[in-house]
């Protein structure tokens, strides 16, 4: 039995939209296919487990996770203030918080040098003179650079999530007798969970892929600051197979994160 096709004006799509979408999709997918084609599957595991590639993977994993923790700790209160507290100049502050997202990463790295550089950074020289702490050329510097570029992504997701929580839930919880701390932990955080998760995932992916700020601020020291993207850049000449193998790993991780989030970062509820 054939189903009669129901015509629906709102969902009809003009022809040129199909063409544009197909072109756009091809534009994005072709490079991904090209990358996968270049991978030498036979020696893949060998390339990844030995030498600079494995060092880079390990370093990337550790620094990106720590950077993400840092981002969540700072980003959550920041998102709260931006979402819930109306103060003069809030739009300006929000724009500044979003800045690292649109700033070219290398420029971000130069900015970080200006703040935390040992030689003449605003805070950096003090940190070094007082505590002997040098962020540049250290894994801690990698974490700082990654957190710097990833923070806006987290704040954006969480602020949007907070704004979409209707006041009635927290009000109802207040009338039920829950103090503000309990309301936050039992109601707000649970309502915020999807946005928190999405923000954390996006921030982590961004931290993992960071290159420009890392190489400028933390340098390129094998085993200490040479993260996976930096390793790919250098290996491209000396050991292209290892470079493609590493690129594949990054690609798989990013695809994995996006699939796991399943459109939640688009604001759709599960």
């Amino acid at each position: 039995m054939s189903k009669a096709k129901v015509r629906d004006v709102a969902s009809s799509t003009p022809g040129f939209v199909w063409v544009g979408a197909a072109l756009g999709l091809a534009f994005l997918l072709l490079p991904l296919v090209g990358l996968v084609r270049r991978v030498a599957w036979r020696g893949l595991l060998g390339n990844l487990v030995e030498g600079p590639a494995s060092e880079a993977l390990r370093l990337s994993l550790v620094t990106s996770v720590i950077a993400t923790c840092f981002v969540v700790l700072l980003g959550l209160p920041l998102a709260w203030v931006l979402a819930r507290i109306a103060f003069k100049g809030r739009s300006l502050v929000r724009a500044l918080v979003m800045l690292p997202m649109v700033l070219p990463p290398v420029v971000g790295g130069v900015a970080l040098l200006g703040a935390y550089g040992k030689s003449n950074g605003l805070l950096g020289s003090t940190l070094y003179n007082l505590f002997g702490l040098q962020l540049t050329f250290s894994p801690l510097g990698v974490i700082v650079a990654e957190a710097f570029v990833a923070l806006p992504f987290f704040v954006m997701a969480v602020e949007s999530g907070l704004r979409s929580i209707e006041p009635k839930f927290e009000e109802s919880a207040a009338v039920m007798g829950l103090s503000s701390t309990k309301r936050f932990s039992r109601v707000t955080l649970r309502l915020l969970a999807p946005a928190l998760l999405a923000g954390t995932a996006v921030a982590w992916a961004r931290a993992l892929g960071e290159f420009g700020a890392t190489i400028t601020f933390a340098g390129n020291i094998e085993g200490r600051t040479q993260t996976t993207p930096l390793a790919v850049y250098l290996l491209l000449e000396s050991d292209p197979e290892a470079a493609y193998a590493l690129s594949l790993v990054l690609l798989v991780v990013c695809v994995g994160v996006l699939v796991a989030m399943r459109d939640r970062w688009m604001g759709r509820r599960s």
């Binding site: 009000e171 109802s172 009338v175 039920m176 007798g177 103090s179 649970r190 309502l191 969970a193």
Partner: protein, 208 residues
């Protein structure tokens, strides 16, 4: 227990002066949309404050701008049902009621028993394991109602409690609600458009 409200409620450009005195009875409030019925409930609950005057419950001042007194909503022991259903979307119907009981300090096991009883008594026991988005408008409203009445509140506030129910379910729910309200001591306020609801449930009415 007597609730005394004598003051002014200001919401932006809009302000109304209210004077109420409610004992152990059910007061109905009717009136057109936007006139401030919900605002009165919000002031009694402590979600907004008066701009002038005072609110007292059995002689205890809950809200008085001139004396700089404001008791927070979590300290007022009010049972409230919102007009637009505020069941927590990540808890089932039963868990929503348990949540309200636990907020008042009831132990988990006792809370679960009470919750089940309440849902059964309201005739919606079979929905207790469903999430709010799986319930119909009428079903979730009945859960909200049950939740507002648990835990021995000192004051009960119901904002359009039966609006989402179809004509078939209403008489039963009205009767049950009337009985439940009789059993609770203290001032009770119901806001409603429906004159049949008001007649069945309220001891007296104010029209704004």
């Amino acid at each position: 227990m007597t609730l005394q409200l004598d003051g002014r409620i200001t919401r932006g450009e809009f302000a109304i002066d209210v004077a109420l005195s409610i004992g152990n009875e059910v007061l109905g409030i009717t009136g057109p949309n936007g006139v401030g019925k919900t605002s009165i409930l919000r002031v009694v609950a402590g979600l907004t404050s008066l701009s002038a005057g005072s609110l007292e419950l059995s002689g205890v001042v809950l809200d008085s701008p001139t004396q700089d007194i404001f008791v927070k909503p979590e300290q007022r022991n009010v049972g409230m049902m919102f007009q637009d259903h505020s069941l927590l979307p990540f808890l089932t119907a039963e868990e929503n009621i348990v949540f309200a009981l636990r907020a008042r300090g009831v132990r988990v096991r006792d809370a679960r028993a009470v919750a089940t009883n309440q849902l059964e008594a309201a005739g919606i026991g079979q929905y207790r394991g469903l999430l709010p988005h799986q319930l119909s408008g009428g079903q979730s409203q009945r859960v909200c109602l049950a939740r507002a009445l648990v835990g021995s509140p000192s004051v009960v506030l119901l904002d359009e409690p039966l609006s989402a129910l179809d004509e078939l379910a209403r008489p039963l729910v009205r009767t049950n609600l009337r009985a439940a309200l009789q059993q609770l001591n203290g001032p009770k306020i119901i806001v409603s458009h429906d004159s049949a609801d008001i007649d069945a449930l309220c001891d007296r009415v104010i029209a704004l």
